[in-house]
Symmetry: C2
DNA sequence: CCAGAAAACATAGCATTGCTATGCCATGTA
DNA sequence: TACATGGCATAGCAATGCTATGTTTTCTGG
């Protein structure tokens, strides 16, 4: 009945946007389509405008984060796994700092919230497993502890990604997580070991 | 030898910008000077451009934060005071959420860093007093613990101010701080009491 | 007291931004 | 095979930040 959209163009634009974000090129409507052989109108047919493009890019960021979370294998030690998830969170943010900034920029709408919730759910599950393994007290709310872990990770990484603090600041994450886990009932000795093992998954950049 | 700048114009523009930020009006070069009887050039003579204006606004934000910190009276309980400082931090961010967003937006330069360091120093001093009072272990680095407290506050408040999480999320701050303080040696019972007393200073908005 | 100069200030115009109006063309359907 | 629908290209719009240029004001040196 009519011409159909080509999804390849959508991903082409998104990848180009992500690339320009990495290379610190300013992303404008015209600079985005320059070089490609699509016109500015493509941005409107596929995203409804630049705002929609930024939103799609934000979604892409959460998708990548979720993908990275799935690479964290489940072990017999759920506290280790939880720490590893947080380490993966930091690693993802460090690998794509500009994308991370975009993800938590202004204008969080309902769809973004769902994406954020989906990634948060990974943490919730890990907390739940730790609670089932009786590492955490029975009264512990998995969602609460997941949010607290998230807040620690996000607080550190956003202070680092936005400039105020140097990358080595992220080393504070492990002891902070350990303090948090101990406060909800984990044995200090075991906790330290679990966090250390989980934390090893994070590879920090050299230039810090 | 020449005409001199009128500092009143500078503060007029800054206050107007802060007001427009609160009322969610888009701040553009022309909209900023509209209504006032200064021309667009004033923005360039006083700030060197819109970027400079945003930077000045960021500085203003840190100044307000520092002013709020000074309202936190020193008591005999340094852990309580430290908690009260963090509560003041959250309160300030909640009172001026848009200004807070601007403060931690992109483009942190050296001057912004100094302003941030100055406010961080308040926390460092509080930690130092707590350490002197032997609430924290001797090996505790005041700067480290201050940064960790900052990260908790910033993580929570930025997740709230940017949308993903509801305001009541900030309630997590007190237990997180307590967990952190206990992890560096404070007695759990005393810590809980101190944090509770310091936390009371925060007045959360009703609509949460 | 008064020229002169330097800096604040006003006006106008520039390139660039995101967006929309308009027409063309490809493609799936009847 | 005709046609209508929606993707696509072009051109142009208002608004943005900024700069060039002239005017006015005010401090200074003689």
């Amino acid at each position: 009945m009519a011409r159909t959209k080509d999804p390849a163009i959508r991903t082409l634009l998104l990848e180009r946007a992500a690339h320009m974000l990495r290379t610190r090129e300013p992303i404008t409507l015209r600079s985005l389509v320059a070089g490609t052989n699509v016109s500015t109108m493509a941005v409107y047919t596929y995203f409804g405008g630049m705002d929609g493009m930024w939103k799609a890019l934000r979604q892409e960021g959460f998708t990548r984060l979720a993908a990275r979370f799935t690479t964290v294998a489940e072990s017999a030690d759920p506290v280790r796994d939880l720490t590893a998830l947080v380490a993966a969170y930091l690693g993802n943010a460090l690998d794509h700092p500009d994308l991370y900034r975009v993800m938590f920029d202004a204008s969080f709408d309902l769809e973004d919230l769902k994406a954020a919730d989906a990634t948060l759910e990974h943490l919730v599950q890990a907390v739940r497993r730790a609670k089932d393994a009786e590492r955490f007290r029975a009264g512990t709310d998995p969602l609460d502890l997941a949010i607290q872990s998230w807040a620690i990770a996000h607080g550190l990484v956003s202070l680092v990604a936005n400039g105020p603090l140097p990358p080595r600041t992220l080393d504070h994450c492990a002891p902070m997580l350990a303090a948090l886990f101990v406060s909800v009932g984990d044995d200090p000795g075991r906790c330290r070991s679990s966090v250390e093992h989980g934390w090893k998954r994070l590879r920090l950049p050299e230039d810090r």
